[in-house]
Amino acid sequence: MEELLAILNEMHPEVDFEIADNLIDGKILDSIDIVSLVGELSDTFSIEIPAEEIVPENFNSAQALWDMICRLDEA
Amino acid sequence: MKTKKKSAVLATLAWILAVAAGLWLLTGLLTPKYMTDIQEGALIAEYYKEKTDHDVVFIGDCEVYENFSPDVLWREYGVTSYIRGSAQQLIWQSYYLLEETLKYETPKVVVFNVLSMKYDEPQSEPYNRMTLDGMRLSPAKIGSIRASMTEEEDMLSYLFPLLRYHSRWGELTGEDVTYWFRRDIVSDSGYLMNVGTRPAENVPEGAPLADYRFSDVCWDYLDRMAELCAEHGVQFVLVKAPSLYPYWYDQWEEQIEDYAAEKGLPYLNFLELIDETGLDFDTDTYDNGLHLNLYGAEKLSRWFGAWLAENTPVEDRREQPDYAEIWNEKSAVYAARQARLEAERDAA
């Protein structure tokens, strides 16, 4: 989780990712951010994030992202 | 709940009525009036204001409504007549006008000018409009529209002229407001008076044509007109007005003569009767021989009236009070119009 927060903070230092829960719906992350993020995440956590996982529910908050990472790691 | 629903339906209906009323008002405003300019556009509709029936009905293009004066026929022979003419009236339009006219009355004689035999397909949208828009809605009108439409036209815009004339919003003039709900009568029993004079000079010979035969379509409509007249016991008379132009070819003349002979119809080619009628193309035309002016039309009508009295069962109705009252009034209008136009001409 810390690693994830570090990645997010590097992208948008002005956002408090521990409480933000509308990253997509609030238009904080745009599609270019998302793609950079997916690259970083698959690198850092050695997971494959298929395109169908890129939906607002998985990207709206750091917690949702973390849940997705764990799920994909589990398979 | 129920009353609420009811009032909603009523309100919607009220608004639909408002739209319909708006459409009616707008149609009236935007439709061309043809009252001061291009008066020939007003001719067809004026027929419905007639108060008597007619012994003679003329059908055809500008060669009838510019060349025959019903007033002369009345004053000098007591013959009641009406011209159902319109600009560049095509032969199928003539047929349907005849069909429609016969629904309103049964004249003794129908006179048809044969120039339109030369056109076998729809020509121009504005001319179509001037012939068709004035007709009252009837099967004849629908038939005429169907036969007349050029490729760009559609039936709907004849039924709802607003669809055609809506773009006139930028060209509206005082005339459109003045004549929003009414029309003046611009013709004298379908005759459009012109008192100008422009002598005919250098009338061009017709250029040779590839094919002089009239097309089957035209013959068919001519047949149908002849049959319709026969059915109604009407004497059908063919004429060719004495207009020097459009050129009337000998080959055309032959075909019409043959047809008339075959069907036993009278045919008068006034181009060959110039001496008899006394026409003088230095003084009797207002546009170099295309159309006669008032003086020419009166000469022609005088001759033709005599012919009608002699060769057809027309009646002299000058002693019949019902007719005399109305037709003498028409004569007064005619005289007043002549006086006004001549004054205008002399002032210019």
């Binding site: 998302i34 690259g39 690198d43 298929p50 169908e52 890129i54 398979a75 | 608004w15 930028g170």
Partner: protein, 528 residues
């Protein structure tokens, strides 16, 4: 059948009456029949194309869907016996099988699209090369583009991709699926609907709902008015301006940029309003395709608000899959540390450029659209990269951001920037466009604005006034829907709504550009 034709009105009237008279369980069948009739009207050959797409996609969807079901059931039943690695391996293998079926269908359908839409373009360019080499050219194929092929192909393929991804199960009934592909209000120019969004209301049984029907009618009339009064009117001077580029330079080019923005907006959103309105009258909810795009403050936002369904389609089915594909991720890994960390962005940049290249080509098979797409991509990337600079700027002038004046500046900047790029699609010739835009700087004669030159473009002063008032009305409606959608609010005031409709009918009939003297211009997006 153009939306702005008496024929369509008649078709719609008959369909509408029948729709609410027949038993409700048959309503969707009537919609299908109507849609097929509508399509048949555009040419019987069109039915073959759309039929092939509907049937093959339905079959592939069924196959992929049942494979997925079986694979998931197997995995659920045997979960306990399998190790994590085994599970992953099974999933990968299962995915491959599904992928093959999906791919076959994708290739077939995009293949059809490519052939009818791009064959001529490819051969022409090939011939250009051959001519340089002195070889004789190939015959240029002359295929008629079936109506709306880009839209329905994308819609159908989106469905298949979703089924493949397990977003929702495949549709069982061919008839229902065919209705999804052919639904007539959106055949001509979209929007590109998603199956899960459109299908519930598309297949549902609808009873008469005055409110929905009124709302739909208001919207459709408004769309028709926009199209006939504003779009088709402005199309006349635009045609004149573009027909003689040598004569109309400088200020005229600025006029072209501005007029085309308004014209395209009126035309395209007008068409979409008709689509959404007509669908709503039939009880069907179609996704919005525009969200007042000219109020956007930057290019990326503009593209989230203009032709939304196309943007999200490309995002979900092209941009994301491409970004998470192996080659791109590998590139990302490798380039990460290049150029002091700038390399980290390389893969994203690459994907963005490819995305906009494809978007450009989707709009049309010609270079102007390709350049148009690439320019959009470049502008988006540049403005993204400049964000730190903006941040610094705003840190220095903290009071500026968010003020009305500054927001207005941002909106105007985006409007003109997008207009400048869009002008490629007016002249339809890349070098000519650049030359024309260049003349803004070289031959600038503002006097043409008031010396009457604009009255010689085929429209009168009255026409300009009508177009301007129409444009203002559009602006007004946009402003009114800023906080919440306008149409429900209008419908809640029944007499205002009825008056609005009555006025629109009369105004459109009088001031609409239609009939003799005007060619009824087709919706611009029709051929895409």
């Amino acid at each position: 059948m153009s939306f702005a034709s008496a024929r369509f009105l008649g078709f719609l009237a008959v369909l509408f009456v029948l729709y609410y008279l027949i038993p409700r369980r048959h309503q969707w069948k009537l919609l299908l029949a109507g849609s097929l009739f509508f399509y048949w009207f555009a040419g019987w050959y069109c039915l073959i194309y759309i039929g092939v797409t509907a049937v093959t996609t339905w079959l592939a969807g069924r196959k992929v869907g049942s494979l997925l079901e079986r694979q998931e059931r197997y995995l659920a039943e045997h979960r306990a016996e399998m190790s994590r690695e085994e599970r992953k391996a099974y999933q990968a293998a299962a995915r491959k099988v599904r992928f093959r079926w999906m791919m076959a269908c994708l290739l077939l359908n995009f293949g059809i699209l490519a052939v009818v839409k791009y064959a001529a373009f490819v051969v022409e360019n090939l011939n250009g090369g051959l001519a340089l080499a002195g070889a004789p050219g190939l015959p240029v194929p002359d295929l008629v583009l079936p109506m709306g092929i880009s839209f329905y192909t994308f819609q159908a393929m989106g469905y298949l991709l979703d089924v493949y991804r397990g977003k929702y199960p495949a549709e069982r009934s061919l008839g229902r699926f065919a209705l999804f592909v052919t639904f007539f209000p959106q055949l001509i120019q979209g929007p590109i609907s998603r199956f899960n969004e459109l299908s519930p209301s598309l297949y549902a049984e609808h009873e008469w709902d005055s409110r929905q029907i009124a709302m739909g009618a208001e919207r459709a009339l408004w769309g028709l008015a926009k199209k006939l009064i504003v779009a088709d009117r402005l199309a006349i001077p635009l045609r004149a301006l573009v027909a003689e580029p040598d004569k109309y330079q400088g200020v005229y080019v600025i006029a072209v940029i501005f007029l085309y923005a308004v014209q395209l907006y009126a035309d395209f959103t007008g068409g979409i309003d008709i689509t959404i309105g007509v669908a709503r009258m039939l009880g069907v909810q179609v996704t919005e395709n525009f969200e007042r795009p000219f109020f956007s403050k930057n290019t990326a936002e503009y593209w989230r608000r203009w032709h939304i369904t196309m943007g999200t389609w490309f995002r979900d089915y092209v941009f994301y899959p491409m970004s998470v594909s192996k080659p791109i991720l590998n590139l990302h890994k490798k380039a990460k540390n290049w150029l002091w960390g700038f390399g980290k962005k390389l893969s994203v940049y690459l994907c963005t450029i490819i995305l906009w290249f494809v978007t450009g080509i989707w709009h049309g098979a010609s270079w102007n659209f390709i350049v148009w797409g690439l320019l959009n991509g470049v502008v988006i990337l540049v403005s993204q990269s400049c964000e730190p600079l903006y941040a610094k700027f705003h840190a220095k002038f903290p009071r500026l951001k968010g003020t009305f004046g500054y927001r207005l500046f941002e909106v105007a900047r985006t409007f003109w920037l997008m207009g400048l790029i869009r002008v490629l699609d007016v002249y339809r010739d890349v070098p000519l466009t650049f030359r024309q835009v260049g003349t803004i700087l070289t031959s600038f004669h503002p006097s043409v604005l008031w010396n009457g030159s604009f009255l010689e473009l085929g429209v009168t002063a009255g026409d300009w006034v009508v177009a301007a008032l129409g444009g203002l009305a559009m602006l007004g409606v946009s402003l009114c829907s800023r906080s919440e959608p306008l149409w429900p609010r209008l419908t809640d005031r029944p007499n205002l709504a009825r008056g609005f409709c009555a006025a629109l009918i009369l105004l459109t009939l009088v001031f609409g550009v239609y009939g003799i003297g005007y060619d009824a211009t087709q919706f611009i997006y029709n051929q895409f």
